[in-house]
Symmetry: D2
């Protein structure tokens, strides 16, 4: 970031560290095979962010905090009408019931975790996620997954708009290309939530009162 830009953003009041709450939830965005298995054109290599996310989800689950996964999945009736599928036509391969929409087993997802099916970039838009988190008393949402510049970014924006404090461990997020990954982490860190690391998140959860 240019020095000038840094000054502008600081003067505009962006980039503050956010106070963390006492009840975290973990949102794992789109670690489904359509994004994680590089045999599909919509996917990218993301085994390390998956492995680091799993460290967080296993700790969170152990402490009784909710872990929620998302997947994108379409029905035939949606393919012809949804405008997102005209712009991002590759997403139309993500058909309900197909392997592409299943959560990658490497995440360690369990049947007792919630799974949100969505139709767009945000995990909150047109889904029951906000109500689920509210009913579970979550105040701080840790967001990981794929892709940083698409669904992670959109979910971070909606999370803070929904009233949750947002934490994004950058090393748990994956993208198809590096420039959009970095540009969106910058936007998130300046405007929507703290960009941090898996190690920091784990340390924080471990030190929360049980």
């Amino acid at each position: 970031m240019a020095a000038h830009q840094e000054t502008i953003y600081r003067q505009a009041g962006f980039g503050n560290a956010v106070p963390r709450g006492s009840r975290p939830g973990v949102l794992v965005v789109d670690f489904s095979y359509g994004f994680t298995d590089t045999s599909y054109p919509t996917a990218a290599e993301m085994s390390e962010p998956i492995a680091r996310t799993r460290q967080i989800t296993e700790l969170a689950r152990d402490r009784g905090h909710p872990v929620v996964y998302t997947t994108i999945a379409y029905q035939p009736a949606e393919l012809t009408t949804l405008p997102w599928l005209k712009k991002a036509a590759g997403m139309a391969a993500l058909l309900e019931g197909s392997r592409l929409v299943q959560i990658d087993a490497a995440t360690g997802i369990r049947p007792t975790d919630a799974l949100i099916t969505k139709k767009g970039a945000s995990a909150f838009f047109g889904t029951s996620l906000a109500a689920l988190l509210t009913s579970a008393g979550v105040d701080t949402l840790i967001i990981t997954g794929a892709t940083t510049s698409g669904c992670v970014r959109a979910s971070a924006v909606d999370a803070v708009q929904s009233g949750f404090t947002v934490l994004v461990p950058a090393d748990c997020c994956a993208d198809r290309a590096d420039a959009p990954h970095r540009a969106n982490l910058y936007d998130i860190d300046q405007k929507y939530g703290d960009v941090t690391t898996a190690a920091d998140i784990i340390d924080w959860i471990e030190r929360l009162p049980r």
Copy 2:
């Protein structure tokens, strides 16, 4: 954009031009004094994007298409609780009733235009905008305003998720710094809506059947 990134995005099915509908609406995001009057630290110089937006809104209004403006404005009760105001603390200056939340007169806003008051980045989140556009029969939303990397981006994501085709004339969008402006136009053009120009939008509206 690196050649490699271009290939990856093309293979993943992004970046298609979207088919335009027959009933446009114009969404003018946050051209309020808090963003347009550089005497405020949250603002930036944006007189040219405002002037070009005005060409579009005057034509649209003349043809009977809805023109909607947004502003961010807070009540005292929101200042202490909303997590967005902890991250983006400069936004807390945008108080209901203050000059900062008024739409800049240079936009040519009229009393018969709709004005949406929002609390976050997206013009759709927690507002009646989707219902207003749906009830007006809008199928294609032209989005202009400020800032490209914040509220325009978030509104473009929500517009396509809401079922509208999205067009963003880049020369009608303003930001505080150039790198985020360009990075977000890239994301929008690849994934959410067609990035185009004021001239193209005007030409398209003029050729729509009356």
Copy 3:
């Protein structure tokens, strides 16, 4: 309705007939076995409303208008947190993957119809329904299903709030008891949409320009 009540409502401006649009959609609420198969305690006898709804859906599908079904279905993670399941505890039997959440075959649902899974009373709340209807160009929503006093009422309220004109054929709606059925049809007809009959809906769809 007492004469006095009728006068009050008329003076307050309720109960107007709504102008119908040109592009209908049909929303069939919760004709899943958990509501239609009287071997379940949450169900009621509703074979006639199902049969009359089917006449409408077959005509609509034939004319190219969208037909959308809803079901309520829960994941294990939701059972302990959602407050609705504490009040309406019988709904907790509606588990994803169970027969209770499948749409009754008597409705004539087809694989090309959209199926919305919801977690509460309204077909719109926390679902992608509004976006789906908007992207399909629907302006007028015909709502049928079960129960009148629960999910049909809630969906009618959200439909009109979402910008759609609402039509409810009373003989296509079912409930567990007659008093709430009638009381809610009254509220709908006064405030949210026109209460009519299957015959009227069929006649209207047939006379729409193809």
Copy 4:
């Protein structure tokens, strides 16, 4: 209620008392002059529910719990498009800036209370209410106001769908006619939240740990 209906509802699992949380919020629906001042045709006599609501809001405020008021208010651009205003045409008198949309001073509203402007029946639909309550840590929403059969009912449905436990003191709710008032309290008590009294709410808030 007929004995038969009672048996059906009990077997279907409705009508359970809900466990109360530890952080209440108070939602006061539409005690604006357009509803409270009987010189307007959309209003009804409701001085006693206002007075009893005020006892609750003053206690809640004193204990640091959020108190939120709602009003319905329209802009000229909305009058011609919103379908709700075609069905419930009397609502179109509720114009932004007019006395009808101001909260009745008899409620004791203060500048530090949040005021939500809405366009339909529900206090949650197209508003920032859910985010505001979530960010304030509210888990249990007390709903009072007008009218029972319209905006209170719709807000209760959305509150429980949003993840909040719902309490409705019946003697703090007002309506234009008695039959819809009672029918909707019945529906709320069976399906969405506990219908109780101002005295019970006050007793509960007083006994919450400070």
